[in-house]
């Protein structure tokens, strides 16, 4: 019986890897995506273009500007004679921010009155705007502290000192790259298993499989194992690239990561087989895969935190295997977690895997008669 199963699995691998184009789409695109997306998917601002309108003839205005231009994240693109030109720069996106220092800035500071400064930010991307606002705020605070020290005015009664655990420099790449390991593994696995049964049905070879002496669970296993092997290989490759190429620290237990990925693969394959069993054509299979993949990725916490979602949607994410994988990946990579700390992520994942496999088996079986 095991020999029979091996033969079936062998056939599945041949069907997947036989032709050069199919082989390529399994390996090439994920690697290219890992590279491009890991560099692209960042919330860090590195090059905030800004324009300046300085109506203040005094020293303080220049000092404040020097602090802005000196900061590595800010990049001054123009100095404008008046505020009238600001709209042009911001509308067209040539500048994200405009700094306007009003005429009596230095004068006011010298006599102990508040010096007026205006900062205008392009809010079309609200996240970028919020972060730019924070950076600008910090620079102004630094300037104020320096001014207070130099001119003997009393300092602020308290200062804010921030420290970040697990990711001290707050690099969003450290957050995103582990997520991409999950994202790409997920996409490849769902596609491989999602099209497996329906491809045979469309080309008519499924009937041959049915009249063979294979039992339903053997056919299911034959379809599931190649997906698992390919998914696991893909995950290992991408994890290695994340650690060796992107230098994301793998501080936790690699075994904890492997266990999480294995459990995740089981549920992803179960879902893929479910889609495959329900679809009548490959187009439907691909659509089904999409219809599942897109919400599953967006509601996984990959790019936007689950905690920000409305409560009803948060409950919905409990059914999403990707959600647990994201916590496991980030826990194992950044937070130094081992198997024990991640146990409460493994259980739901195992449950989802079991449930999806059982439903897939039932659907594949039902499709046979």
């Amino acid at each position: 019986m095991w020999g029979r199963l091996v033969a079936l699995i062998h056939k599945e691998f041949l069907a997947l890897l036989r032709d050069k184009a199919s082989r390529f789409v399994l390996v090439g695109p994920p690697l290219v995506q890992l590279l491009v997306f890991s560099y692209a998917a960042t919330f860090d601002l590195s090059n905030i273009a800004f324009v300046v309108v300085n109506d203040d003839p005094g020293l303080a205005g220049r000092q404040l500007l020097a602090r802005l231009t000196g900061a590595p994240v800010f990049n001054q693109v123009a100095t404008l004679p008046s505020t009238a030109g600001i709209a042009d720069f911001i509308d067209s996106g040539r500048a994200l921010m405009a700094v306007h220092i009003e005429r009596d800035f230095t004068q006011n500071l010298l006599v102990g009155r508040p010096g007026p400064v205006q900062i205008i930010i392009d809010g079309r991307n609200s996240n970028t705007a919020t972060i730019a606002l924070n950076y600008a705020n910090n620079i102004v605070l630094d300037f104020e502290a320096e001014w207070a020290a130099a001119h003997g005015t009393p300092p602020t009664p308290a200062t804010l000192v921030m420290r970040a655990w697990y990711n001290p420099d707050l690099l969003s790449r450290w957050f995103v790259v582990p997520g991409i390991v999950g994202l790409l593994t997920f996409v490849v696995t769902i596609l491989v298993s999602g099209l497996s049964v329906v491809r045979e049905r469309e080309s008519g070879t499924y009937d041959q499989l049915l009249v063979s002496p294979y039992r339903p669970w053997e056919i299911l296993l034959g379809k599931a194992i190649p997906g698992f092997v390919i998914g696991a290989a893909e995950a290992a490759l991408i994890t290695a690239a994340a650690v060796l190429w992107f230098r994301v620290p793998l501080t936790g237990n690699p075994l904890a990561l492997a266990l999480g990925l294995a459990l995740f693969l089981v549920s992803a394959i179960g879902i893929g087989l479910m889609i495959s069993a329900l679809a009548a054509t490959q187009q439907q299979g691909l659509l089904g895969a999409f219809l599942f993949l897109v919400p599953a990725i967006i509601l996984s916490g990959f790019a936007t935190p689950i905690a920000n979602m409305p409560e009803a949607v948060q409950y919905l994410t409990l059914l999403n295997p990707m959600r647990y994988l994201m916590v496991i990946l980030r826990g194992a990579f950044l937070e130094g977690d081992g198997i024990r700390q991640l146990a409460n992520q493994y259980w739901p994942l195992a449950g989802l895997g079991l449930a999806s496999m059982i439903i897939a088996a039932w659907l594949v079986r039902r499709r046979m008669y």
Binding site: F143, N167, V294, P305
Partner: protein, 371 residues
Amino acid sequence: MNARRLGGLITKETLQILRDPSALGIAFILPLFLLLLFGFGVSLNAEHVPIGVVADHPDPTTDPLVAALRHSRYFEVRPLPGLKMARDLLSRREIDAILWLRNDFTRQTLVNAPASIGLIVNGTDANTANLVEGYVMQSWMIWLAQQNQVASHPLGLPVALQFRIWFNPALRSQDYLVPGLIAVIMTLIGALLTAMVVAREWERGTMEALMAAPVTMAEILAGKLLPYFVLGMGGMALSVALAVFVFAVPLHGSVLILALASALFMLVALGMGLLISSLARNQFVAGQIAIVVTFLPAFILSGFIFDIRSMPMAVQIITRILPARYFVSILQSVFLAGNVWSVILPDMAMLALMAVFFLGVTLARSHKRLD
């Protein structure tokens, strides 16, 4: 091109669409479902962030600071007895940040030696950590302003800093995510609808029948394109209506420009799908390529969620060949800023160029030959 023959092909394609409900599903149910799900589900505005507050000696100086945090809609304040417990909760992910007021806090503020407020955040999600820092800073500045009123002499903060956020003053992340989302969904729909239609004819052997028919290749392609174009534009109209009426995203620009840009973009997306489809001749490969070259880049490289300006130069150059990038930029401007010609004209020109390119290459690569 002969109108009657083209009409026949369009009828055939339309019948095929109507018989297989999955195509109608992609054009109408998918945008509805995705926009509702994401519009409500995706937000970058952190609210009710659980923050632990450890005040070693609570007293009248620290109370207003804690109250300022409590009044902020961004935080869910949990007073904690000690730092050890707070660290424990942070490592178990039960709170996202700790605000620590040391026992010498009040004394330091009284003698004008700045006391330090310790803020420890979970930095795993760097973006949320940055936002939390900004929110704490806001509360802290409110507290400083209060202290200024109480104190006889002005303290610190000599600069009267005033922020003005254009186009999205409340910084609602939905207002920028929903227009971008429309571009992602339309990419998905356009490319998915057509990626498989030519490959399917090859795989099923019906391509031979089509070639034997007295129609030109251009007519075959146009016959495939037009019905899906109508379908895609229907989905687009639905998405815009949802954005405006359900998500209350302001539409400052003109609807005409929006329609024109969408039509151009739809042609590009369908053209990409057709090209993939006629090159691959195999539905599995065509489907894979469609996902890899259209949907995922549209999600990550289009500026829909990650700002293109923050990407490394090499990646920024890659984004220039992505149609979704131009469409996202048009959508974000037309919705939030209005008819900004300096953004719209160059972007539309790029889309037109790409439409010509993809459709032209598809036509050039398609011959009435079986090998």
